[in-house]
Symmetry: C2
Subunit: 113 residues, 2 copies
DNA sequence: AAACTGCGTTCACTATTTGAACGCATGATG
DNA sequence: CATCATGCGTTCAAATAGTGAACGCAGTTT
């Protein structure tokens, strides 16, 4: 599944290092090579990334992923959306931790009895 | 998969309402009936819950899930473990949001150019 | 020329989750 | 009494998601 999380992270990593390999990307993302390939392809399909070739330091032909103009433009929106999502998650977590704290205290109190 | 998250949540919900049905539980947990059944069975298997019968208001035979002494005892530990996990998650999220904020600002700045 | 390296790609396999369908027990209805 | 309706736990085929070994290719090294 290609979620905003991976859209954001891949665009970010690719922007920082266009000559990154799928294996490096997979490691950085903490997901498998197969899923990385799938997500990357998804971003190319919707026109946010394009694949290009270049010669690396050893004059070896290699791939390079580049953000398209659309990719550059939409990255902000994706980032904002992901940020919003994360902040909501954060808020929920805060409430949950508060509740867990109460639950934990209660349990300990009962043990003392 | 039976994680601390569901161990904690199920023990909590069952303690609050032992006569809860698996369908109610599933809805409260936000997961499917099948998974709920699987998790519940897991808790019974390891001896944290036991199944009992009772007569409900319409004198209808129904199930009731009860925490065993072991369940009561271990619930605190599970809660603590889950709390610790959640707090770590919270911290990570905080860092991630901070980074997203920087990334978002940067994007917006570039748009202004 | 043969072996080696590192790349993207593929896909059979495993893991996880879902929810429709079933059998059973009870209450309600004719 | 017989039938239907309701609600329960249980099951499991199907859907969905994710993995990583294996492959073909291209360039480099021996």
């Amino acid at each position: 599944m290609l979620t905003d999380e991976y859209r954001y992270k891949i665009l970010k990593l690719v922007q920082e290092k266009p000559e990154i390999s799928q294996r490096e990307l997979a490691k950085a993302l903490g997901i498998s090579l197969g899923k990385t390939n799938f997500c990357l392809k998804g971003l190319v399909d919707v026109g946010l990334l394009k694949v290009s070739n270049f010669r690396n330091s050893q004059n070896k032909l290699a791939y390079m992923y580049l953000l398209t103009p659309k990719g550059i433009e939409e990255k902000t929106g994706i980032t904002m959306r992901f940020l919003k999502y994360k902040m909501q998650e954060y808020e929920n977590l805060q409430a949950e931790i508060e509740e867990l704290r109460r639950a934990a205290e209660e349990s300990v109190e009962k043990e003392v009895e």
